[in-house]
Every structure is written in structure tokens, then in C-alpha cells.
Amino acid sequence: MKVAVVGVQGDVEEHIVATEKSMKNLGIQGEVLAVREPGIIPECDAIIIPGGESTTISKLISRDSIAEEIIESAREGKRIMGTCAGLIVLAKEGDEQVERTKTKLLGLLDVKVKRNAFGRQRESFQTKLQMKYVGEIDGVFIRAPLIESVGKEVEILAKFEDRIVAVKQGKILGLAFHPELSSTKVHEYFLSL
């Protein structure tokens, strides 16, 4: 199995390490690549868009045409996961901040996201979460977004205080928090989708 971590900006290394450990735990042979140029994603079986700044990541993947390759991969039914900024980039609809910064969304997840929904960094936190198919995990929310609404095809996997923080649509996962900073549980689930 070949896994691409979109590597233009953000906590790329953390996703690579978590994915490599998960592969080892599951006994999957393969490799994990940080992708900063076009031409690699079409050869991969799974794609991860990491945390970082959604404004920056969106600009860089559009300039490099990595964005089109991700959209094409979704069409082919490959598994894709976005965490925090990655969730925003995957979403169909954003909020006022997304509009104001003219951030281009890939539109692959039928959800509406709200950026910086909890506030600034001092309002960032970690907490225990129950995630469907995965179990209890430590959710690390860093200037995190929220999922305000979901389309019919979208399954809700985790809520925090009645607000949606993890979803699944086909083989696409979107998480408002950072599983790559706490354990390999979510990555193992993602690889076995």
C-alpha cells in the first residue's frame, strides 16, 4: 500500500510517523510519502491532508495542481483523510472566514465547516472522545474547526458536546481534531477502510 501525505505545509511528519506505525501494527507492507509535487498522488492508494493553516495549504495545492489529483482520486474511490485544516480543505462549504480569505475548497465531503470555531489558541484543548468504529481517543483541538451541518451521505463518527467533530462519507474521513498527535487508532481504522 502506498500512502500520500500532502506535504506542502503542516504537521506532515506526525502523519507519516502515525501511518508508518499503523501499517506495522496491521502488518501492511508499503510506504508513506510526503507529497509536494504533482504526479505522485495518482500512484497512491490513500491520501492524507494534514493539519496546518488551511489558507496556506489550499493555496499551495491549487498552485501545484495537487488539488486536481486529490479530486480525481476521490472519483476513483480511494480513501482520503483530512484532519483540522485538512477537513476544511475537503469540505464542500465553508464559513465567512473561508470566503473572506478566498480559500478554495475541494468539495469532496458534503459538510459545512466553521473555521476557528472554538476561538483562538488559548481556547485550544484536549479531551476524551468516543469515536464510532474506533473507540475512546484523546482529541487534540488546536484552533479547531467544527462541522456545522452534514449532507445525507455523511455518517457522523464523533461529537463533542453535541457538535460534530468527525465524519465519514464513503471512504473519506474528516476530523476537526488531530489524531496524529495522540495515537495510531484513527490511522489504523483509516487504513482498514
Binding site: E53, T56, L60, Q121, F141, R143
Partner: protein, 334 residues
């Protein structure tokens, strides 16, 4: 929004270091007003540093450099959606608390401002907001990490537009990490003792003046020197095992061109701070965008060449070796 606070943990090491990790591979730009902040965001900056004056102007104007006007910082916070950082003076706990109250996303306890405390840096573990601190050597980096810094950056020599000192500090830290990997645990402990001795300077002066020696003396915050040595030793062992600092390490202090930024990334920086370089150049929009692309594609020379074309005039710059000892900012806070 109100949540059950019992279940939430704010300002943990994971949350603070995690914030810094999200900045990796990015460019953090110094800005002095809302308009510049918007230019930085549009160019793809991952965060902005809100300042009263850029370091080149701080250097030129002299006098005591302090925290920026909070009103100015607020205007910048309102103008952009990306994180906003601000600088406080070394050891100035009250400026840091004011910045935290204002809601800035990260505080830079910075040598670019005039230090407020010659003995100590802020004990940053007492704060919910994460800190970034400058370092010229592994010792400085490790002390700042022990105090709770979530991000380290090279000091370089701010406001000069000359990358030579940033390169020097990155190389010194890299070579020291390499050395750590080659020596046995006992030797590492000796390094910890040496690095920690800086915290005993205040107590040494008082001992000398009073002629009194205390047992188990508290030397800094609520720690004895022995406890600090233990803490620093643990961090050194972690660095040895990881082969790198346990927090994000950015380059700063003199980065003026896309090629400078790419150079620092090649030397192992996780990202880049650009201070005076962007808004002291003749075409800030183009410059900012070029530096963002050069950091992303630091290992692709053709991209660095492409984005460096016709950028106009870079900031003029200063020859660091011609600066008098008293003009150097990097020697502040060790």
C-alpha cells in the same frame, strides 16, 4: 460557546507544542499594520508577527524597545484569520500576561526587544498560550524548552537582512545534537550540569555579596539547581533519542530572500520567520509569495530560481561583522 470545563484540558504541552507543529513548512511574517497582515495572509503566510516596527527600524531608532501597542495588535488580529503572534521582552512576565489576555496565539519572548530581566527568562509552563524563543546554541535551546517554550527559532541577527548568523546558529545546534548522539549518558549528564549552571547566577551573586551558603536553595521559580539539572538531562536524552529538538525549530534573524529561506530549510529548519525582509523590499506582495514557495520547494533549485526572478530590490542589509558588540541583538538572554 460554553463547555464542561472539567473534561477539557487547556494549555497542555501537547496542545502548545501541537500548535507549533501546525506551523511547520510555513513562513511567519512580521507585519506592522492590518494592511500588511492581509498581504501576508494572501501570500500564504501561516501566521503573522504583530509589531510596532520591524526589527530593521527598531535597530535604527535605538532606545528601549517594548511590547507593541495592544490596539495595533488587536487591529491585526481582526484583519486576518491565521494565527497572530506578538513579542514581549525577555523576562517581562507582565507584558506576556497582557499579550495572553489580549488573545494572541503565540508569544515570542524576543531578544529583538530590550530585555527586562538579566537573570531569567519567563517560566513559560505557567502560561496557557504557547511561546517561541530564540537560541544561538543547544544550551540556550534546551534551557528555553525546559522553561516551557513550544517552539525554538535561531536568533540570527534580526534587522540586518544578513543570513550569516542564522546559518551559524543552526549549524551550532545541529553539530551539538550530532555530538550528543556520540557520547555516553554520563557525559550527557555533565552537559546538563553545565547548561543548568546559568540558573544559579543570581544565587551565586547573592552568596558572594552576603557570604552565606544555603542548603537546597530555590534558584529559579520553585526549583533547586539539582531539580533543574534533572529536567535538562531528561531533555538532552530525549534530543539524543530523537536526533532533533523535541519542539519545532524555525529559522529567524536575517532571512531576506527566497534563497535564504531555502538555505535554512536545507539546514533542517522546520519553517522560517521573515522579519524586515518582506516589507523592506520594493515589492512586498511578490516577495512574500516567493518566500512561501521557496520554503515549500526548498529542495527544488529550479523552483527557487523561478520565484527569485525579477523580485526587485531586496532589503539593503548590514554586514554583521561591522556591527559593534553593543549593537548585536543575539547576545541578549542566554
Amino acid at each position: 460557546m460554553r463547555f464542561d470545563l472539567e473534561k477539557l484540558r487547556f494549555g497542555t504541552e501537547l496542545v502548545k507544542r501541537g500548535f507549533a507543529k501546525m506551523q511547520k513548512g510555513g513562513v511567519i511574517m512580521d507585519v506592522t499594520n492590518a494592511e500588511q497582515a492581509v498581504i501576508a495572509e494572501e501570500a500564504g503566510a501561516v501566521a503573522v508577527m504583530a509589531l510596532h516596527k520591524v526589527p530593521a527600524d527598531i535597530r535604527a531608532s535605538g532606545g528601549v524597545a517594548r511590547m507593541a501597542d495592544p490596539k495595533k495588535i488587536e487591529e491585526i488580529m481582526d484583519a486576518v484569520t491565521i494565527p497572530v503572534m506578538a513579542k514581549c521582552r525577555i523576562g517581562h512576565i507582565a507584558e506576556a500576561r497582557a499579550l495572553e489576555a489580549l488573545g494572541v496565539d503565540m508569544i515570542d519572548e524576543s531578544e529583538v526587544l530590550t530585555p527586562a530581566d538579566t537573570f531569567f527568562h519567563i517560566y513559560k509552563k505557567n502560561f496557557v498560550v504557547p511561546f517561541v524563543c530564540g537560541a544561538r546554541s543547544l544550551g540556550e535551546a534546551v534551557r528555553r524548552i525546559w522553561e516551557g517554550a513550544a517552539m525554538i527559532r535561531t536568533k540570527g541577527e534580526a534587522g540586518t537582512g544578513n543570513v550569516v548568523e542564522a546559518v551559524k546558529h543552526m549549524r551550532l545546534i545541529n553539530q551539538a545534537i550530532y555530538t550528543l548522539k556520540k557520547i555516553p549518558d554520563e557525559k550527557i549528564y555533565e552537559v546538563a550540569v553545565k547548561y543548568a549552571s546559568r540558573y544559579a547566577e543570581l544565587s551565586r551573586l547573592v552568596k558572594e555579596e552576603m557570604g552565606v551558603v544555603l542548603e537546597n536553595e530555590i534558584v529559579y521559580e520553585n526549583f533547586t539547581l539539582a531539580e533543574i539539572v534533572e529536567g535538562i538531562n531528561e531533555i538532552l536524552l530525549e534530543i539524543r533519542d530523537l536526533g532533533r529538538l523535541p519542539v519545532v525549530n524555525f529559522a529567524a534573524g536575517g532571512i531576506a530572500t527566497p534563497a535564504d529561506a531555502a538555505l535554512m530549510m536545507q539546514l533542517g529548519a522546520d519553517g522560517v520567520f521573515v522579519g524586515s525582509g518582506i516589507f523592506k523590499s520594493s515589492n512586498p506582495e511578490k516577495f512574500a509569495r516567493a518566500i512561501v514557495e521557496a520554503v515549500e520547494h526548498y529542495d527544488q533549485p529550479e523552483v527557487v530560481a523561478e520565484v527569485s526572478k525579477e523580485l526587485g530590490e531586496a532589503m539593503k542589509g548590514l554586514e554583521v561583522s561591522k556591527l559593534a558588540e553593543g549593537e548585536l541583538l543575539q547576545t541578549r538572554g542566554a
